[in-house]
């Protein structure tokens, strides 16, 4: 690990001021950053510790929504009674991710900013446009079983590894940001992460020095919420494909539907195509299949990951069937 200086921020304004120096980075839970620093994929010369900032509260908003502080741990967020009751898809996604020990350390803000688990990104001997812009993509033409099938480019086929962000996508969450000049703004979580294009090293719309202060969940939409994750082992593993849905039905017809995929793209992938194919149609397998076809229409496999296209279709169908059935029963 490269040498670095360290300071602990005591307030948010101080934190964004402190991170303005060259080579500085925020550290929160550190579970991903320190791993990457050990491998010298990340090489900050100064760390600004924001883990003790008073940004851990989860509070109800006047409009019926919920604001989750950026420094709330994944564990506390998943266990929060209001999240479990009104946003169960978020709890399901959080507890499907990582392990108990990691969830106790990882923060909500850090979860959004975690880096891809593409093995070539981790391997400093391999070409990787994300780690070293212009050095090529070793995954294209390499071992790419875990890689992206949607929104890919010739520069990068890495996936975003978060489960939490997929749930936040169907919940239409907003990410709260504080800029170095003290100004605040909100960005829809669907707009927060970028597709790789020819600049895969730029992963979010964060401005230099900008810090995540919280995530705002709008009031929960009607319908049944489900997160389903498919992976190589039953626990403590990243998704090959995951699906988050919120489905409401009315006398056998889907009255509203939201759907997003994880493990398939450089960002949590909301499928407006699937949603359009569902809304107003019968809650039946033929509808789900049509939605799955629509969702994967533009999917591109690179060989080893071809199976993900069919896996994503089937995972969506099964999750929709489960959600619609529960809605009718309830």
């Amino acid at each position: 690990m490269r040498s670095f200086t360290y300071e602990r921020a005591t307030d948010a304004r101080g934190a964004v001021a402190a991170v303005s120096r060259p080579g500085a980075k925020f550290i929160s839970g550190g579970t991903n950053l320190l791993d990457l620093m050990k491998l010298e994929v990340e090489r900050p010369s100064h760390l600004v510790d924001i883990s003790r900032l008073p940004l851990t509260d989860i509070e109800e908003l006047p409009d019926g929504g919920l604001r989750i502080g950026a420094q709330a741990t994944n564990s506390d967020t998943a266990a929060d009674a209001r999240v479990r009751t009104h946003y169960p898809v978020l709890t399901q996604a959080l507890v499907a991710g990582a392990s108990g020990q990691l969830r106790n350390k990882a923060s909500v803000g850090g979860n959004l900013l975690q880096r891809t688990r593409c093995p070539y990104f981790y391997d400093t001997a391999a070409g990787c446009n994300k780690r070293d812009p212009g050095s090529g993509c070793s995954a294209i033409g390499g071992f790419n079983r875990i890689h992206a099938i949607l929104g890919v480019s010739d520069a990068c086929i890495a996936t975003h590894p978060s489960d939490m962000a997929v749930a936040m996508t169907v919940l239409e969450a907003q990410v709260e940001l504080l800029d170095a000049d003290g100004s605040a703004r909100r960005v829809a979580v669907t707009d927060f992460h970028r597709l790789p294009g020819d600049t895969p090293h730029i992963e979010t719309v964060l401005r230099p020095g900008e810090m995540i202060t919280g995530v705002v969940l709008p009031p929960p939409p009607p319908g049944r919420q489900i997160y389903r994750k498919v992976r190589d082992r039953a626990s403590y593993e990243f998704a090959l494909v995951s699906v988050a849905v919120i489905v409401a039905t009315d006398r056998g017809t889907i009255s509203s539907a939201r759907a997003a995929f994880g493990g398939v793209a450089h960002k949590p992938w909301r499928s407006v195509e699937a949603e359009a194919a569902l809304t107003g149609h019968p809650a039946a397998m033929a509808t789900y299949r049509a939605a799955a076809e629509a969702a994967m229409r533009d999917a591109v496999g690179r060989g080893h990951n071809d199976f993900k296209i069919e896996l994503a279709r089937r995972t969506l169908c099964r999750t929709l069937a489960q959600a619609a059935q529960a809605t009718e029963a309830g």
Binding site: Y6, G30, D35, G100
Partner: protein, 204 residues
């Protein structure tokens, strides 16, 4: 901080004992960042100077000579380094010592001792919840943290309906909640049995 101090501290924090390190010596023209910190470990205040890079794991093992906490993968994938910080289980390999000033850290050395074992330690002995023993300190610290999470009513991936507590500690729940601790000897059945024994012996 003098150059000599920096060199000494660097050697102490390199995680290699007895000067057998093959690592490159630090350049003498740059002072390595060292911070003086106070850690509360197993109820004792410990003052020490650490290179900012030092993980909590290396601090425990190499600086405080608490070698019960094990280094397996050093990348948060095996669970051998699990300790409790403020009552919560975490991987000590993926956190910096300098981030834990004033935190209450409990390692396996603080759990119990021969003749006065922690109930989870006693259950691991009773149920033969190990083979080689390397993962065991992490398994026990993790189990203690996990049982506290159960007491707090936290849901898991094995919980059928996360919205409706209470949750019973089934074997499926134990396995899911302990998935962050790998046992290369595959002593899992007896680890699950040991945790079941502890949970059944507790009120509520």
């Amino acid at each position: 901080m003098s150059e000599a101090d920096a060199g000494t501290t660097w050697a102490a924090s390199s995680g290699v004992a007895g000067g057998t390190s093959t690592a490159v010596e630090p350049r003498r023209d740059e002072a390595l960042p060292v911070l003086a910190i106070t850690l509360n470990v197993n109820g004792r205040e410990r003052r020490l100077e650490v290179d900012t890079r030092t993980s909590l794991l290396d601090t425990l093992r190499e600086h405080l000579r608490l070698s019960g906490t094990k280094k397996g993968c050093d990348h948060g994938q095996c669970g051998a380094c699990t300790v409790l910080v403020n009552g919560r289980r975490i991987y000590s390999c993926l956190t910096l010592a300098v981030m834990h000033e004033d935190d209450e850290i409990v390692t396996i050395e603080g759990m119990g001792e021969p003749g006065d074992l922690h109930p989870v330690q006693a259950a691991f002995v009773e149920c033969d919840g190990f083979q080689c023993g390397y993962c065991t300190p992490g398994q026990i610290c993790s189990a203690v943290g996990m049982l506290a999470e159960m007491d707090a009513g936290w849901p898991s991936h094995a919980t059928a309906d996360v919205s409706s507590p209470p949750i019973a500690l089934s074997d499926e729940e134990i396995r899911e909640r302990m998935s962050g601790n790998i046992c290369r000897c595959a002593a899992y059945p007896n680890i699950v049995a040991a945790i079941r024994v502890v949970s059944e012996g507790r009120p509520g």
